[in-house]
Symmetry: C2
Subunit: 242 residues, 2 copies
DNA sequence: TTCACTCATTGATCTGCATCAATGACTGTC
DNA sequence: GACAGTCATTGATGCAGATCAATGAGTGAA
């Protein structure tokens, strides 16, 4: 078995296909999708998948591990744009410009699927369900980005952290993982950067939530002890029911 | 001539078609697009195009005037999500949920094109260029939203206003309107709400920019006197060259 | 013209979070 | 197992921008 084969698991066999692949595809259609997906060996922690300035050629999906996307400004400052968990697609912001404006880096050893964009485009013109899936996926990203904008422009530090944790909790639940006990794949700095807060603020709020018995934090391990109160703090319970 | 015909201008004849319609379509293809577009009489100031909770059935493009999109939270507070000028499409965040989560309201008397989504989907499967156009359009919205996120999470009030004005200036220029002298279609409250600032802050910064000879403000009329210094203040000149 | 209402501006005060500073805990390396 | 480097926590201080308050300017209705 060659190196590159170790990581090859077909879309049919992938535990995440409910998230990635539209449900309504026929077996044949899934095979077509499957055939366009390139799987290479996992990306090591801190290695980039693509960098700002790279030519755009593919979209990517996380299979296992976690990815952060970010941009770097003229002063060399990093700005975290998003975090992606297994089953989530990233790189979609580059379609319009044909060049990556953001960079993507592995937060831990991460397996990814690479989907060459021109082949995806062709295929989606033929397979109607795939096209609507793509439209929904892109639209979903827009809606999520707009939710984040609302957070950044209106919410307090505590509300942001609360929402952030509930959002992660919900995404882990979708992946059939525990919504109450999970590991934060990113550093506190990244969380602060993403939410527009100083690291110190993130840290302080974590300890405060811990004191109030809402959260149990041990380094990157987090346990949500009181989901309801966390919702109250986040000021946005309903948003995480879907 | 019936009422509804007054506003009917084909895509071919529309001065905005360079912005809306992909350049590479054949004449026949443009006619197909044209045939799917519904044009109704202008929306009066403060009237909504759609509201949160409405079933999603169409995307919309602004022909003339201006639209703001916003959501309303449980406390009845409005949160401005975006502003749309002639040639820009809105409503794309609703594709993924099949329901509008945001509302759209006319900031002044506004003519819009309505594009029934299911017909657009069908057509885009047939017309390859239209499909890639749609992908690019959606991706563009994602990239723009991410730019805004960066602003909201990292920039000072002055930088936000600077960027906002430069962004508008650039969009007017794309429409072959003056990039230096234009009218703000939205109220100060809306600007503040959108940028995550208090109205008072917006007002103060406008007067400060005026004192420093960078801007001339008279109500909603704005003239950019010193584009370079505005760029410096915005800390993002390059972003508006494209 | 006057009244009612909304919107914009300006000043005074308050506060949430950034910033600065220092220490502790953890990780990998030789 | 000592050292360097990164990351997290906690405390002290300062400031950008929110909030509160008041006035003025613009708009439409009767």
């Amino acid at each position: 078995m060659s190196d590159s084969h170790k990581y090859v698991v077909s879309c049919q066999a992938c535990s995440l296909n409910a998230l990635c692949v539209p449900h309504s595809l026929t077996e044949e259609e899934i095979e077509l999708v499957d055939a366009t997906v390139k799987r290479s060996k996992p990306v090591q922690r801190n290695k980039t998948v693509f960098e700002s300035g790279d030519a755009f050629s593919s979209l990517y999906a996380v299979r296992s591990g976690a990815i952060k996307t970010y941009s770097v400004d003229e002063d060399g400052e990093e700005h975290v744009i998003g975090f992606y968990l297994p089953g989530e697609m990233f790189g979609m912001d580059a379609i319009s410009r044909n060049v990556h404006i953001s960079s993507a880096k592995a937060l831990e050893t991460t397996a990814i699927c690479e989907i060459p964009y021109n082949r995806l485009e062709e295929l989606s013109a033929k397979v109607h369900n795939l096209q609507s899936h793509m439209y929904r996926l892109l639209s979903r990203e827009i809606a999520d980005d707009q939710d984040l904008q609302l957070m950044l422009s209106k919410k307090t530090a505590e509300e942001r952290i609360g929402n952030f944790l509930l959002n992660l909790s919900h995404r882990y639940q979708m992946r059939r993982l525990s919504p109450t006990t999970f590991r934060l794949p990113m550093a506190r700095t990244d969380i602060g950067n993403y939410l527009g807060l100083a690291v110190e603020t993130v840290s302080r709020i974590f300890t405060r939530l811990q004191k109030n018995q809402i959260l149990k934090v041990d380094g990157k391990e987090v346990e949500i002890l009181d989901h309801n109160r966390l919702c109250e703090i986040a000021n946005a319970c309903h948003e995480h029911k879907h």
